[in-house]
Symmetry: C3
Subunit: 153 residues, 3 copies
């Protein structure tokens, strides 16, 4: 099964990859390496999950926010690679969780992204990860996620 078929089986339709609105690009390629800009939980042009974890949002909403960031990142990877089967390995997720005082479940939230990469890419979706809590986020988004991936030649 291709990653596109797995997405379809999961009921996920890739969006038009969110465009960066400022003086930068949504993804870049150097050699076989693709890097995305920080992805936010956009859906239909709006931030679907806004606020801080542990204040306005529950762990499960955070998980869904991270999953949505991952869907948007996969859309960027598809734009970069043409076909997702050309993704040889997801290398790294850099995950930032908008966190209220004392909130420590950043890893649980980011599993919403990590597990989707596993479901869609199988072994090729197993990545390294950093999980940080930050106090303020552009557009008040719940999560921001950057992805590094290796493409086949």
């Amino acid at each position: 099964m291709t990653p596109e078929e797995r997405l379809s089986q999961l009921g996920i339709t890739l969006p038009e990859p969110p465009k960066a609105v400022a003086a930068y690009v949504p993804w870049i390629r150097t050699g076989n390496l693709v890097i995305t800009s920080g992805q936010l939980p956009f859906r239909d042009g709006r931030i679907a999950y806004a606020g801080k974890l542990g204040v306005e949002l529950t762990d499960d909403e955070g998980y869904q926010a991270a999953r949505l960031c991952a869907v948007n990142a996969i859309a960027q990877l598809k734009a970069a690679a043409g076909e997702l089967s050309r993704v040889r390995q997801i290398l790294r997720l850099e995950g930032y969780v908008h966190s209220g005082p004392g909130y420590q479940n950043q890893p649980k939230v980011l599993n919403g992204a990590s597990e989707l990469f596993g479901d869609v890419f199988g072994e090729r979706g197993r990545h390294t990860r950093s999980a940080l809590g930050i106090n303020e986020m552009p557009l008040n988004a719940a999560v921001q996620l950057s992805v590094w991936a290796e493409l086949t030649e």
Copy 2:
């Protein structure tokens, strides 16, 4: 026009690249990849923009701080590359904005860096970016910026 000529046209003189004061180096090269350490808004050996956005500093001061970080990063890239025309592509800006409660204009602030890279490097300056708000910063600096770039062979 070379990047050095564009800098000159913008009235920017590259400083002596700020030295890292601790047990690390200001830039490193591996293959064609150059990575800088986190750059702070140093000018003449002093932090020119200190404090939090949305508390002590305005959006425009933040923009100027990010631009100054970018000037310092370009000085590091020149030290690494010899001539800036050997920079094939700016790959990534990792931008951290020292943010007070509720501050969400990190992208606007970091455009101070992104737009300078565009002005100086043209298409080669178009990069991916992450934009995060953080609560505390070394030396109380307003912005910290790390840059990844690809050099020509």
Copy 3:
């Protein structure tokens, strides 16, 4: 002297590399590049340094926490490389310090990691670095550290 011999001289026994507990891997290799997941100050399966710098923890405790993160990262690099003499260069430390209000000594804390890399790897341990203060951290850990390194062919 090999890095393993230097570790021994420093009285450091590498632990079993801490395993990632979620849907990701502790290190990954692409070409000659190795990237670790964010390392926490685990010792014997427990977080040895919990809390915020400037609130519950002193600068020296933060330094020890960063050093312990570095020990764990070196254990990951050894798992990736087989022998640490196959590490050609430590490229980058991304250091996040769990910081209370007004705390600005993130560089001093992260020297606990930077200096250990210098002691163990000599010139090959000289790296670039980012040093950020963040408000919340998984497991209330004092420090999180990701490491990028280049291996020999």
